[in-house]
C-alpha cells in the first residue's frame, strides 16, 4: 500500500468517527437533567413564567423533534456556526476561537517543558542506573507527581510570585505570565515521560546492536546517540497522544492562574449550564483526540512501513 493511499484511507476513516463524536456530544447535552429552556431563563436571572418558557422553547427550537434538531445543529456546525451562548448571546464559535490560542500556547509550552525536563532526567537516570543521581531524580519526580495540580500551582504562585516577586500572578498580560502555568501543567507529565523514556533507554541499552557497536570500538557519544534515537519513538508517540490530553486538562491550571483559555470557558459554561458551549467543547475535544490519533498513526507509518500493512492482515 502506498503511503498516500494509506493517509487518504486513514483520513476517510475519520469521517464516521467525527460524525459519531458530533452525535454523542449532542446526545449527552440532550440527556442532561432539567429543561434547557428553563436553564436559559434562570442563567439570565429571570423568572421562568409559562409565557417566557414557551417563547424560549420556540427560540431554541426545542419544539422540534430530536433528530431534526440534531441535523439542524450539525449542518450549522459544519458551516462553523455552533450556536450562541445562553449567557450573553455571543456566537460560540467566536468565543472558542478566541479561547483556543491561549490554551494551545499553554499546552504547547507545557509540552516543551516536559521534553526539556524529562529527556535530561531520563538520560541521567538511565545511564547512572541505581546510582545516587538516579535515586535522587526518581524520588524528586515521584514527589512532584504526587502533588495535586492545584496545590503545586498554589505553591509555585506563593513562592515565585508572592514571596520572591519574580513572576506575575495571573492572567495573560506578558510573556512571563506563561512560565508558572506551563510548569504547573507539565509537572505531572514530566515524571511519566521520564519513566517511559528511562525504561526504553534501559531496554535499548541491552540490545545486540549496542554490544556490536561497543565491540567495533565506536565512540561512546555515537553509541549513546544510537541508543537515544532507538528509544525515542515510544515516548514521542506517548507525548503526541498526550497533547490533546494536555489541551483538555487545562481546567484547573487555567482557573488557578486566571488564564483566558478553553478550560476556563468550559468551566464557566458548566457553572452557568451554558449548554451550547459545553456541547461545542465536547465536540472540539473529540475532534482533537481523533485528529491527533490519526496524525500519530500516520507519523508512525512514515517511520515504520510495517505499520501501514497491519490493517491488511
Amino acid at each position: 500500500m502506498g503511503m498516500l493511499t494509506y493517509v487518504l484511507s486513514r483520513l476517510a476513516g475519520l469521517i464516521p468517527v467525527l460524525l459519531a463524536v458530533s452525535f454523542v456530544s449532542f446526545l449527552l447535552i440532550q440527556l442532561s437533567p432539567g429543561d434547557p429552556a428553563e436553564v436559559v431563563i434562570r442563567v439570565n436571572a429571570l423568572t421562568p413564567t409559562p409565557e417566557l418558557l414557551a417563547e424560549t422553547r420556540t427560540q431554541l427550537g426545542l419544539d422540534k423533534p430530536f433528530l431534526a434538531r440534531y441535523l439542524h445543529w450539525l449542518t450549522h456546525a459544519l458551516q462553523g456556526d455552533l450556536g450562541t451562548r445562553h449567557i450573553d448571546g455571543k456566537p460560540v464559535a467566536e468565543e472558542m476561537a478566541r479561547a483556543l490560542p491561549p490554551t494551545l500556547l499553554l499546552a504547547g509550552t507545557a509540552a516543551v517543558v516536559i521534553l526539556l525536563c524529562s529527556i535530561p532526567a531520563a538520560l541521567i537516570s538511565a545511564f547512572f542506573e541505581g546510582s545516587l543521581p538516579d535515586v535522587v531524580l526518581r524520588t524528586l519526580l515521584f514527589v512532584s507527581t504526587s502533588f495535586p495540580t492545584f496545590w503545586a500551582g498554589l505553591l509555585l504562585l506563593w513562592l515565585f510570585s508572592v514571596h520572591w516577586d519574580l513572576l506575575p500572578l495571573s492572567g495573560l498580560e506578558e510573556p512571563r505570565s506563561l512560565i508558572l502555568p506551563s510548569i504547573t501543567l507539565a509537572l505531572p507529565y514530566i515524571s511519566t515521560y521520564t519513566r517511559l523514556l528511562r525504561g526504553s533507554l534501559l531496554e535499548a541499552k541491552q540490545q545486540n546492536f549496542v554490544l556490536y557497536e561497543k565491540t567495533c570500538g565506536l565512540r561512546v557519544t555515537t553509541i549513546l546517540r544510537h541508543i537515544f534515537r532507538n528509544s525515542l519513538q515510544t515516548s514521542l508517540t506517548g507525548l503526541g497522544m498526550s497533547l490533546p490530553r494536555l489541551i483538555a486538562g487545562t481546567f484547573v491550571v487555567e482557573c488557578l492562574f486566571a488564564w483566558p483559555g478553553l478550560g476556563r470557558l468550559c468551566v464557566s459554561a458548566i457553572f452557568n449550564r451554558d449548554l451550547p458551549v459545553i456541547q461545542a467543547y465536547i465536540l472540539l475535544m473529540g475532534i482533537l483526540f481523533a485528529l491527533f490519533k490519526a496524525f500519530m498513526e500516520i507519523c508512525a507509518a512514515l517511520a515504520d512501513p510495517r505499520m501501514r500493512d497491519r490493517g491488511k492482515k
Binding site: 437533567p33 428553563e38 429571570l46 417563547e55 455571543k90 498554589l154 488557578l256 470557558l265 468551566v267
Partner: protein, 530 residues
C-alpha cells in the same frame, strides 16, 4: 570536556536568574513610580453583558455605569437623576422633575425623551421582568416637557419609587445605544450617565472603568477601576498579598469564605470591613410534606437548632443570630414576635406532645413512621454544607434523622419548583428588595417558599393579602397588613431564621473610603481612594 559543559550550564543558569531578577525589578519600579490612580478589584465573575435592562450582567458593574431616577438610601428614597417628584392624591400618577444639564457620556442629553425611550424599551420586554410587580402596574408614561416625565399606574402600587431605584432594570442607557428602538435583543454600546465609563472589556479577563470626566455629581476619586476576573479564591488572596489587587468585596461567601475572612482579619496585614445585616439566611420547612406538615413538629425544629452555635462555629461570628425572618431594622418589620431560642428540651416536649415518641434506637417514631427529614442545598456552596451538618447534629439530639443532599444548582431549583423537600435553604434578597419583593416572590409557584407554604391552612389568604398590600395606599393599613402577614408566617413556623448575612470587604491598607451600599449587590467605588 566535562568541565566545559559545567561552565555552560552555570552560564545559562546565571543568565536565567538575571533575566528573572531583572523582570522583578521592573515590576517594583512600576509600582513605586507615582501615586496609584487605578483601583484593582478582583472578582471570581466577569461583568458579562451589563445591558441595564437585562439580567445577565454583574449588578455592581451595571450600577457603576447606569443611573436611576431615584435611589434607595438608609433614610428612604432620595432624588438622583430626578431632582424631585410629585405623586397624585390617588397614588397613580408620578411626575418626575429631571435634573438639568445631565448628559450621557457619549454627549447625548439626558431628558424626558430619553427616559421615556428607556421605559418603553423596558416595558416592551415585560415578559422578562415578571418578577417585578411594578411592570404590570404601569399604564402608560409620557413626556411632559424636556425636563418633566410622567409615569401613570393602573393602581396605586406603593413600592413604585423603591423599585425605580433598584440596580435594574429601571436605569438609563443612551438612546444612541438602542438597536431598532429596543434594548431587549442587545445594544450597540454601553453608555450611561454614571460616574464610570466602561472603557475596555476583555471577556473573562478584565473590565476597565474610567472616571467619567463630565459626571454631573461628585466625581470619583480614582481615575480608573480595573475589574479583574480571577476564578480561584486562593489566587485572589495571593494577589492581594502581592499587591496586585486592592480590594475583595462580596456577600454570602461568593468572593470570600468566612474562614479566610476571619484569618485575614486576625492576621491584620489588610483592612477588613463588614456591613450591617443586609439579608436573611433561613431554612425553609415544607408544610406540604408528611413529617413537617404538623405545626408542632415545625415549632420543635425551631427550638432544636442552635443558631448561636452556627453563627459562632460556622460563620465565625461574622453574622448576627436571627430571631425573626426579617430583621427588625427592615422597613415594616419591627413587629413584636415570639423569640424561639435554642431549647432542645422544649423541642423534645413538643415532639412528644405531637405523638413522635423516642424509641430504643434513639430516633422518634409515630405510627411506625420514622421522624426523618431531607435538607437540600446547592452543592457549590461549601458554607451551606457545613451549616447543614451542624443542623444535622442538632436534630439528632432530639431524635430526628436528617439526610443532607447537595445538588447541582439546576436540580436544586427544580426541586424548589416541585416542592419535593422537607428542608431547604432560603436567602432573602436583602435591602432594598426586602420585604416587598421577597414577599411578592412567595406567590410564585416556581419558588421554594410558595411550595413550603402550600401546606399552611391560610396560604390562599396569604397570597391575596400580599397582592392587596402592594397597592394599599394607606401607610398605617399597609403596616398593619405587613404585621398580619409576617406574624402568621412566624406563628406557622415555616422558616427557621438562622442569621442575618452581611457583606464583607478585605482591602489593602493604602485604600481608603471603603464603604457599603444599601444593597449587597452594589460596590461604591466612587467613594474609594488611595
Amino acid at each position: 570536556m566535562r568541565r566545559r559543559n559545567g561552565l555552560w550550564a552555570l552560564a545559562v543558569m546565571v543568565m536565567l536568574l538575571a533575566t528573572l531578577a531583572g523582570c522583578g525589578n521592573d515590576e517594583e519600579s512600576r509600582s513605586a513610580a507615582g501615586g496609584r490612580s487605578e483601583l484593582v478589584y478582583a472578582s471570581t465573575k466577569d461583568i458579562r453583558d451589563i445591558n441595564p435592562h437585562l439580567y445577565g450582567g454583574e449588578m455592581a458593574a451595571q450600577g457603576m455605569v447606569f443611573e436611576p431616577l431615584v435611589i434607595n438610601t438608609d433614610t428612604g428614597v432620595s432624588p438622583w437623576l430626578a431632582e424631585s417628584w410629585d405623586i397624585s392624591d390617588d397614588g397613580r400618577v408620578y411626575t418626575f422633575h429631571l435634573r438639568k444639564g445631565v448628559r450621557f457620556s457619549d454627549g447625548e442629553p439626558f431628558n424626558a425623551e430619553a427616559v421615556k425611550m428607556n421605559m418603553d424599551a423596558i416595558m416592551a420586554n415585560r415578559i422578562r421582568h415578571a418578577w417585578l410587580d411594578m411592570i404590570n402596574e404601569i399604564e402608560r408614561n409620557e413626556v411632559v416637557d424636556e425636563h418633566t416625565y410622567r409615569l401613570i399606574l393602573k393602581r396605586p402600587y406603593y413600592p413604585t419609587l423603591i423599585e425605580l431605584g433598584l440596580l435594574r432594570p429601571f436605569r438609563f442607557i443612551s438612546p444612541r445605544c438602542f438597536v431598532d428602538g429596543q434594548t431587549r435583543n442587545g445594544v450597540s454600546g454601553l453608555v450611561g450617565t454614571g460616574p464610570w465609563i466602561l472603557a475596555e472589556h476583555k471577556d473573562n479577563q478584565y473590565a476597565l472603568f474610567t472616571a467619567n470626566p463630565d459626571y454631573w455629581g461628585e466625581k470619583p476619586r480614582v481615575h480608573a477601576v480595573r475589574w479583574k476576573v480571577m476564578p480561584d479564591h486562593q489566587s485572589i488572596i495571593l494577589a492581594l498579598q502581592k499587591g496586585e489587587i486592592d480590594l475583595i468585596f462580596g456577600a454570602d461567601g461568593d468572593m470570600l469564605n468566612l474562614d479566610t475572612f476571619a484569618a485575614l482579619k486576625r492576621e491584620g496585614t489588610f483592612q477588613t470591613a463588614i456591613s450591617r445585616p443586609v439579608a436573611s439566611r433561613a431554612i425553609l420547612l415544607n408544610a406540604h410534606q408528611p413529617f413537617t406538615r404538623e405545626r408542632e413538629v415545625r415549632l420543635a425544629l425551631q427550638y432544636a437548632v442552635n443558631k448561636r452555635g452556627i453563627a459562632e462555629g460556622v460563620l465565625n461570628d461574622s453574622e448576627t443570630v436571627a430571631d425573626t425572618l426579617m430583621a427588625s431594622s427592615v422597613q415594616y418589620c419591627d413587629i413584636p414576635l415570639e423569640k424561639r431560642s435554642y431549647d432542645p428540651a422544649r423541642a423534645a416536649a413538643l415532639l412528644d406532645a405531637a405523638g413522635w415518641k423516642r424509641e430504643r434506637d434513639g430516633w422518634r417514631y409515630k405510627n411506625g413512621e420514622k421522624a426523618a427529614v431531607r435538607l437540600y442545598y446547592n452543592a457549590n456552596n461549601a458554607q451551606e454544607r457545613t451549616i447543614s451538618e451542624y443542623i444535622q447534629a442538632d436534630l439528632k439530639k432530639i431524635g430526628v434523622e436528617m439526610r443532607i443532599i447537595g445538588e447541582e444548582k439546576q436540580t436544586f431549583l427544580d426541586r424548589q419548583k416541585t416542592g419535593d423537600f422537607e428542608l431547604q435553604y432560603s436567602l432573602s434578597w436583602g435591602t432594598p428588595y426586602d420585604p416587598q419583593s421577597y414577599l411578592s416572590s412567595w406567590r410564585i409557584p416556581a419558588h421554594g417558599d410558595y411550595q413550603a407554604q402550600t401546606g399552611m391552612e391560610r396560604k390562599a389568604w396569604l397570597d391575596e393579602e400580599i397582592t392587596r398590600l402592594m397597592t394599599e395606599p394607606d401607610e398605617a393599613r399597609r403596616r398593619a397588613m405587613y404585621r398580619d402577614i409576617l406574624t402568621y408566617v412566624h406563628d406557622e413556623g415555616v422558616y427557621i431564621p438562622l442569621t442575618y448575612s452581611r457583606t464583607k470587604a478585605v482591602y489593602a491598607r493604602r485604600l481608603k473610603g471603603v464603604e457599603f451600599g444599601l444593597s449587597q449587590y452594589e460596590i461604591p467605588f466612587e467613594k474609594m481612594h488611595f
